[in-house]
Symmetry: C2
Subunit: 349 residues, 2 copies
């Protein structure tokens, strides 16, 4: 029996997480669920986006099902108290350095993409994003120049251990797929990227069966538009990964369909699973959100943290079947409510 922490968070987070939990419960697996407050919701109730009791729960749990954080009413708060700090804090506290973001076209949803159907149809990649280093966690601050001008700064940095462990995740992933790994950096400008490239090349020696290519981030952003189907696995740093993984998701068209996993090891003991979409405050509480990304995140949770590949595949098949049977939330051009979409997946299970 495993303990699954449910951190639903803000906006549509609670709605979509509720459906994902229903699907998990329907599997009859006898896991235990424990909810915790996080994000703007936690700040409102307890004065901090990541309160100690939530952090304690996260440490205690075998896996975390996360909804979304973000609340426009808190834009005025200082950075360290804003809802986003909850997810950054959890990643850091749990050492969740490996973010896996599959971007795959769902049969029947080609029309949702802004790309030509023949381009969109070919998309089947995983972005492996480093999640606990880079300019996200370097020294940062505000100050004044010698001339008295206001300034702001953030240190971008990586060391070889940080790069090597995420590179290994990329290679392991590629080994299990089409054996094509694209490492993305900006080595023509950044020293951080030169180190990145050097270490990735060193790790590559252990994976002769994987074809490794290095690509500059600006070129990667172009190729993701021109020919996204050419990518298999992409490995990159925290900042570039933030940008490129969102771009890749949108190529698929329906960000309401895409899950993610954040792991602290290649075969994760603890992991955090969340839809890639945000809290979408504009449609919160209206039953319009697509729960599929949350449901598919639950599938990733079973696969990576609970080693239950069979249940993971059951859920994934049920989502594909529900879509195949015509179930569509508004983001997919349909009229299903959040719970009706959840029902459709449960029916297919």
């Amino acid at each position: 029996m495993a303990l699954i922490a449910i951190l639903a968070g803000d906006g549509i987070g609670p709605e979509v997480t509720h459906e994902a939990r229903r699907v998990l419960e329907a599997l009859g697996l006898d896991h235990q669920f424990e909810p915790g407050l996080v994000g703007g919701a936690a700040y409102r109730a307890l004065g901090h986006p990541l309160p100690p009791q939530t952090l304690e729960l996260a440490h205690r749990a075998d896996a975390i099902l996360f909804g979304a954080v973000g609340d426009p009413e808190m834009d005025g708060l200082e950075r360290t108290l804003r809802p986003e700090q909850a997810i950054l804090g959890l990643r850091k506290a749990l050492g969740l350095f490996a973010n896996l973001r599959p971007a795959t076209m769902f049969p029947g949803l080609e029309d949702a993409s802004a790309l030509r159907p023949e381009v969109a149809r070919s998309i089947d990649m995983v972005i492996v994003r480093e999640l606990t280093g880079d300019v996200y966690f370097g020294d940062k601050g505000r100050g004044h120049t010698k001339m008295g001008l206001r300034e702001g700064h953030d240190m971008m940095r990586y060391d070889e251990a940080e790069v090597a462990r995420i590179a290994r995740v990329g290679f392991e992933m590629a080994k299990r797929r089409k054996k094509i790994l694209t490492s993305v950096d900006k080595a023509n400008v950044l020293e951080t990227s030169q180190l990145w490239r050097e270490i990735v090349n060193e790790v590559a020696l252990d994976y002769p069966e994987v074809k490794l290519t290095h690509m500059y981030v600006d070129n990667a952003a172009m190729q993701l538009v021109r020919n996204p189907g050419a990518f298999d696995v992409v490995v990159t740093g925290n900042l570039f990964g933030d940008i490129l993984s969102d771009q890749a998701s949108m190529c698929v068209g329906s960000i309401g369909m895409l899950p993610s996993a954040s792991l602290n090891e290649w075969t994760g003991t603890c992991g955090l699973y969340e839809p890639i979409h945000g809290s979408a405050p504009d449609i919160a509480g209206q039953g319009k959100a697509n729960p599929c990304a949350a449901i598919l995140s639950a599938a990733m949770l079973l696969r990576h943290s609970l080693s239950d590949e069979a249940s993971a595949q059951r859920i994934e098949a049920a989502v594909i079947a529900a879509i195949g049977a015509g179930a569509r939330t508004p983001d997919l051009g349909g009229t299903h409510s959040t719970s009706a979409m959840g029902d459709a997946v449960l029916a297919a299970l």
Copy 2:
């Protein structure tokens, strides 16, 4: 009579710049041209990608027509000697802080885009990228951690003067267009971005007629796929601008068509004009490159550095007419050689 420096550089740089010069000469404007070595070509001849005599010419010239730099044979050189340092060095030495990158769909070329034609057709934006600050020019280096691990770092930073002057360029540009400005940052994570947002908001007070929106860079990368037609002017920092402007260019489909300007003032005294494409070593010397981006860069040169709007528009109309008459280089699905494409533009002039 103005002095135009011709820095053709590497790969296809010389070929496309040659056509742009022919077009400029055909206008019969009595400008003077002076070539200089830059990039890998300069390193080969003189041991440095940006030799002193080229820098001197750049300072002396009224404007610079730049080709491309980059040479895979020099990938092994240390960063400071690589061809790319030439363009970074020129930007810094001449204070070219404002990079203007129009991304506009050319009538007749919708098929070149990976986006659906109805999405592609709506693209008409200018990206205003800061070009002399950010993580590109902060303190950078390689070293070792306390535990003896190799590390690499690059400081991201901006001060208020740097942000304010590029923000003004964005607002001025928006004022002359659809009056919609999107400022892109990552203020939920970066202190540099919080300063950026603060200063952009201050400058906005001087431009009440422009509608300003702030957008996170990951969201911007998504929106550029989902609905690029919604953007008018985008202003952003050096690194995000590098990524997003290349992404936007590829949405248009044919990066062989897109020019850019780098200015040291809103109404530039000196400026550098270059196609957005690179040196494309794979097709260099084969007469396959599309010279339109270089030719349109020459048009921007006339407009911004020589205040010759009429000639700029003549060139732009000639390129559109040549495309309209069916002239197509291989990148556009045709068989025109570089010089045949140049001829077609000259014929239309």
